[in-house]
């Protein structure tokens, strides 16, 4: 069972979006191997979903699960801040796990 459900809203036409997708993939693989479900939504292809979620900024990450919902915007360039934003309290612990 996956413990994290994450949506990432991107716009394929923008450079920041490509960076965000890569950054997020790296973080998830490293810290949550097999423990997440990632949904990438391109607003150019799926504007309805952007409308529904009330997205303004690109990229926007939504942690749908666990509740409550958390939103992060930006290219997700700083790993520690992304982890903190996702609600990972003990980053050091995870870091060690990741290094194994």
């Amino acid at each position: 069972m996956t413990n994290y459900w994450i949506q990432l809203f991107i716009n394929r036409n923008s450079a920041t979006s490509v960076g965000a997708e890569e950054n997020l993939n790296a973080i998830l693989k490293k810290y949550f191997p097999g423990d997440y479900q990632l949904e990438i939504i391109d607003i150019q292809e799926d504007p309805d979903k952007a409308e529904e979620a009330g997205i303004l900024a690109i990229p926007t990450l939504i942690r749908k699960w666990p509740q409550p919902e958390v939103r992060l915007i930006g290219a997700l360039t700083v790993q520690t801040r992304v982890l903190a934003g996702l609600g990972i309290a003990n980053v050091d612990h995870l870091q060690k796990q990741g290094d194994k």
Binding site: N23, A50, E51, G54, L56, A75, R81
Partner: protein, 483 residues
């Protein structure tokens, strides 16, 4: 070459803006909190749907969509139905979470995509973004937001929509807006104000600039009326285009008709000035009576006495106003001057006139309306009122109370005198130990008139005008001397 305008349909706005908002452009609407920015924007869309069959998109960055829907119901706009019919679309950009964490670079392309889609989907010609200031509070990265909003304004322009973007200001007279949005929204700027003057709120709208196009300069007062929303009082847009008539109509007193060279001119404004008890209300009642006898429709607006008092007093002069009202030729409306602002009174009077369609109107007294407003506010009111009545071709009588029993000018008269066509003075005169009432026609535009000062008698038959008072000078200067 002047930029074409899009008629907004907001009462009198199209007049002061010389045709509406610049078509296909974005106008910045700045105003302090509570200055009716959201309402103005919503009304722009509502009027587009109601009057011109033009659809609209409303972007909210601040208020919740449900709140807006509810707030606007009070003006009789059924947003739910318009949404279902695809005439009105909300783009909800209000804050969804308490705080948003920013990690790295971002842009607002999702917003632009949603906006573009909404515009395309319902073929919107009108767009409102309310308010741009709120998006600056959502995101602390103001440089990015400025850059992104400038892209939004380019999107709006490319899509050929006529748009209003609202923005907050912190002072009524100061920088146009916070966050410097006027740097990229420079072409068209309007300001809404809500200022406290003499313990009353005074709302105004000013068109600061419409690049490459005409408009009225300065502040125009407006008011917010249920079911009509914003109604602007176009003071500075008044034009003296009313045609003047040479047709005469009776004053209701035969001798006064003679003094005026055959009666008042149809569609003219008559000012009756006098101290309390000098016969102003009686003259106004006669004026009404003279109209109803000729089967003209007459409207009496009483700001000093109740309807019952007026009916009773008129009975004492042998006039049955109650019967005349029952016959449908007369309508008496009694109002307290203090119940609302002058702008509201003006709208109210316009509504009454449009509804009853009178041939003549009497206002007893116009000076009662000076009790609360500023001098400038009153002047604007009188100009707007006379302009409206003349435009409708209504013969009107305003009474004004002087403070001195024997005469003297008042502020009221000073303001009104120049825009009235006829001025009648009712004065007390002290003659050989007796107080006498007198009447004189001081001015009558475009006509010869009797310049003598005549005695008047008031008895159970009403007003009777007698012989000229001769051998006395200095009557009007409040210093009578027997020659």
């Amino acid at each position: 070459m002047s930029i074409p305008k899009l008629k907004t349909g907001i009462a009198a706005f199209d007049l002061i803006s010389a045709g509406g908002l610049p078509v296909g452009r974005t106008t910045l609407l700045a105003g302090s909190s509570g200055s009716a920015k959201t309402l103005f924007g919503a009304q722009f869309l509502a009027m587009g749907i109601l009057l011109f069959n033009q659809n609209g998109v409303f972007v909210t960055f601040e208020e919740q969509v449900d709140d807006i829907r509810n707030d606007l119901k009070g003006f009789g706009w059924d947003i739910d139905r318009w949404e279902a019919d695809g005439k009105w679309t909300f783009v909800d950009g209000s804050a969804k979470e308490e705080d948003v964490i920013t990690v790295g670079e971002f842009d607002l392309s999702a917003f632009r995509v949603r906006l573009e889609r909404a515009i395309t989907k319902n073929e919107a010609q009108r767009v409102v973004i309310d308010s741009i200031g709120s998006i600056f509070t959502h995101f602390p990265e103001h440089n990015i937001i400025r850059q992104e909003m400038s892209k939004v304004s380019m999107t709006l322009r490319r899509m050929k929509t006529t748009a209003i973007i609202t923005t907050e200001r912190t002072e009524e007279y100061g920088a146009i807006s916070r966050y410097g949005v006027e740097e990229f929204l420079t072409d068209n700027v309007m300001i809404l104000r809500n200022v406290l003057v003499n313990e009353r709120r005074r709302r105004t709208i000013e068109i600061l600039k419409f690049r490459g196009s005409n408009h009225v300069k300065g502040e125009n007062p407006f008011t917010i009326v249920p079911m009509k929303a914003i109604v602007i009082v176009p003071i500075s847009a008044m034009r003296l285009t009313q045609h003047s008539s040479s047709e005469r109509t009776t004053s209701g007193v035969a001798e006064l008709d003679q003094m005026c060279g055959g009666g008042f001119f149809k569609g003219s404004i008559v000012l009756v000035s006098g101290a309390t008890g000098a016969g102003k209300t009686l003259l106004a009642a006669n004026f009404m009576n003279g109209g109803t006898e000729k089967k003209q429709r007459c409207l009496l607006l009483a700001f000093e006495e109740s309807k019952e008092q007026i009916f009773r007093n008129a009975k004492g002069w042998g006039q049955d106003l109650e019967q005349q009202e029952a016959d449908g030729f007369l309508k008496v409306v009694s109002l307290y001057p203090e119940v609302c602002s002058l702008e509201d009174h003006l709208i109210n009077i316009q509504d009454l006139v449009n509804e009853f369609k009178p041939d003549r109107v009497a206002i007893d007294s116009i000076s009662a309306l000076t009790r609360n407003p500023t001098e400038r506010g009153f002047q604007e009111f009188v100009v707007a009122l006379t302009s409206f009545l003349k435009h409708e071709g209504i013969t009107s009588m305003f009474t004004a109370t002087t403070h001195m029993l024997t005469g003297g000018a008042t502020v009221t008269e000073g303001d009104i005198a120049t825009i009235t066509d006829t001025i009648i003075l009712l004065r007390y005169v002290e003659l050989t130990g007796e107080m006498q009432r007198s009447i004189t026609v001081l001015k009558m535009r475009g006509s010869r008139h009797d310049a003598s000062i005549r005695r008047i008698l008031i008895d159970e038959k009403g007003m009777r005008i007698g012989a000229p008072i001769t051998g006395i000078s200095g009557l009007l200067s409040n210093n009578p001397i027997v020659a």
